[in-house]
């Protein structure tokens, strides 16, 4: 009991070097325990695709159905893979191309999974560290600890292996440089790299620009944001497969155009654009925009989760919002419903998203198809999934509303 009291009192104080190291080590330890024994097939598919990055021309590369990220992401992931080769060993290339069940029974599978995931884990620790730094001193250790222990972060990054950690790190650095260092230049460059890694941080950019005082500053910042995007996309201007496949294809139709109310002949109200514009317009009317930027920036991503059949690993985008919610509570409480219904969605989905991810431990689990649907049948499973997503969406709005109501200035107050 004494130890727990001491830990709680340490966490509620301004961070010391030792307590920061201890919290980061706890997070790293948990991730190390999970990493070698969990596998989502996206990881293998991505790794195979990354492998071909240096072997194919841009045109050939983006004609592959699984090449779905912008070029900067592949440059970075390819660098990670090459850096990990020391740990991976010479047989890795052969392993990654083995048939599924054979690959799972390979005696080196734990080493391979750990080595592939390690760069992502280290990036996440860096992201969490800088994110905690945007808060008031007394809240920094708490913010860091909540990120390290967050089950959604553990699932979507360490178990799943999510490349979205790259743009999220850039968004966090953008906020950090702006709020804590007062640097518009570095902040804009960070946001620019975020968009160059993956397109979703673009939704946060207008919010950042609205916090700047003059139009001159806004144009300057917009140019800095556009620079990394333009430089990395310039070589792909004539690669039609990239634009058709990565920018306008894939999930974008489902996310932006699927949820709609018919308004008349050939005209619909698109929920995504409507709600995004609503959040942006509301932000333009508030007075303390700079202080409220982190909240609104992450709320700008909410419409994707509220009005689309989002991919479960995308939930990683909202970890900063969840941490803000956790530390805005006086007691150690959180929105149980959000976590419960998020994991219920995963539980009700096909086995490869839940129990099947433990296939490195027990290869038989990879042969399971959709156990819940086998019991409940397709219609009932889909109904349950829709109910869970609806309650999850309501919980998500509640979380954002709670943070807004708490008047979050104290979260950022200087010591």
């Amino acid at each position: 009991m004494k130890v727990i009291k001491n830990v709680v009192s340490q966490i509620n104080r301004a961070p010391t070097l030792q307590i920061t190291i201890a919290i980061l080590s706890v997070g790293f330890l948990l991730r190390c325990i999970i990493a070698p024994f969990t596998l989502n097939w996206d990881l293998l598919a991505n790794t195979k695709t990354i492998y071909s990055w240096s072997q194919l021309s841009s045109r050939e590369f983006y004609e592959q159905p699984l090449a779905t990220y912008p070029p900067l992401t592949y440059h970075t992931l390819s660098f990670f893979l090459r850096s990990s080769m020391v740990l991976l060993g010479p047989n890795f290339t052969k392993w990654v191309n083995l048939p599924d069940l054979f690959l799972l029974t390979d005696p080196y599978i734990f080493r391979y999974l750990f080595a592939i995931k390690l760069p992502y884990i280290l990036l996440e620790l860096t992201t969490a560290f800088f994110f905690s730094k945007i808060f008031a001193l007394r809240l920094q250790s708490k913010a860091l600890l909540f990120w390290m222990l967050n089950p959604i972060a553990l699932f979507t990054l360490t178990a799943w292996t999510n490349v979205d950690v790259l743009p999220i790190l850039c968004m966090v650095l953008g906020i950090y440089f702006y709020l804590r260092r007062g640097s518009i230049v570095w902040s804009a460059v960070s946001f620019g790299f975020g968009v160059a890694f993956k397109l979703f941080p673009i939704f946060a950019v207008p919010f950042f620009l609205l916090t700047l005082r003059s139009w001159r500053q806004r144009v300057f910042a917009a140019a800095l944001i556009a620079l990394p995007v333009a430089l990395t996309h310039y070589p792909l201007l004539k690669v039609s497969a990239y634009w058709a496949h990565v920018i306008f294809g894939g999930q974008s139709q489902n996310v932006f155009y699927f949820s709609a109310i018919p308004l008349g002949l050939d005209r619909v109200l698109l929920f995504f654009y409507f709600s995004y514009a609503l959040i942006l317009f509301h932000f333009s009317t508030v007075s303390r925009r700079k202080t409220l930027l982190p909240l609104y920036m992450w709320c700008s991503l909410l419409p994707i989760f509220l009005f689309s059949k989002f991919n479960v690993p995308w939930m990683y985008w909202l970890i900063p919002l969840l941490i803000m919610h956790l530390i805005s509570q006086k007691a150690l409480s959180f929105s149980h419903s959000l976590y419960i219904f998020y994991f219920l969605i995963i539980f009700l989905s096909q086995a490869s998203l839940n129990i099947g991810m433990l296939a490195p431990l027990e290869p038989t689990l990879s042969t399971l198809d959709w156990p819940v649907r086998d019991v409940l049948k397709s219609g009932q499973t889909n109904n349950l999934l829709s109910i869970c997503q609806s309650i999850f969406s309501a919980a998500l709005i509640t979380v954002a509303w709670i943070i807004y109501q708490k008047k979050i200035d104290p979260l950022y107050e200087k010591a």
């Binding site: 201890a22 325990i33 069940l101 005696p107 431990l361 027990e362």
Partner: protein, 226 residues
Amino acid sequence: MRRLDVVSPFGSETLYVGPGNSLSQSFVPSHDGLFSFRFVVLNPALGGAKRYHLQILDKEKTLLREMSVTQSNLSWGLPIRFDFTPISKSKNQKFYFAIKSPDENKLEEQGVRNFNEQKLGSSSAEIKPDVREVIEKTQIQLTYSKQDVYPLGELFYNDLATYGDLNFETYYTGSVPRLLADTAVDFGKKMTSDPLFFVAYLGLLIGLGMVIIRSYRMSIKSPRPY
């Protein structure tokens, strides 16, 4: 509850099974309780009426288990699950899986044989276009690998050993505690079969644990703000 036992990885080669043309594969389970054999079929006539016998035989080729299916039970490119009453003493015993057609049709028999002999490289006899079309549209194929991917077993075409192995998986069953214990044992074997990783990984976990304890103690005794 079932657990994976033997795996022979997927390959891209195929052989036909039809009247007078059978395939079999020998295998050696590493656990008692053998109860399922999975293989991949390419069936061009979904809902067709052709019949097949799936059999498990012992090393003396005595029939142990059998199931009859029709083409309507088979799909294109998906694993077919042949589950049977568990064979209690199966560990390290040699078994055969066989698939045969009880139908009789001289034209199809010759056509399938010509096709398979061409695929195996033992004949280059020309197949008439009309026969080719009939065979391709009506007869099932099983996938196999031309390499010896499963050294403990052999592939047989019409009871003659041929190079390569069928693509298959076998499963065994048993009590839940036994299967969980087997999972734990296999986990331990996997960990220790890569000793370099095992030692480094264990060292990392212990090291991190020590850093956490040390940092916590120091933060109480002599906190260093930064």
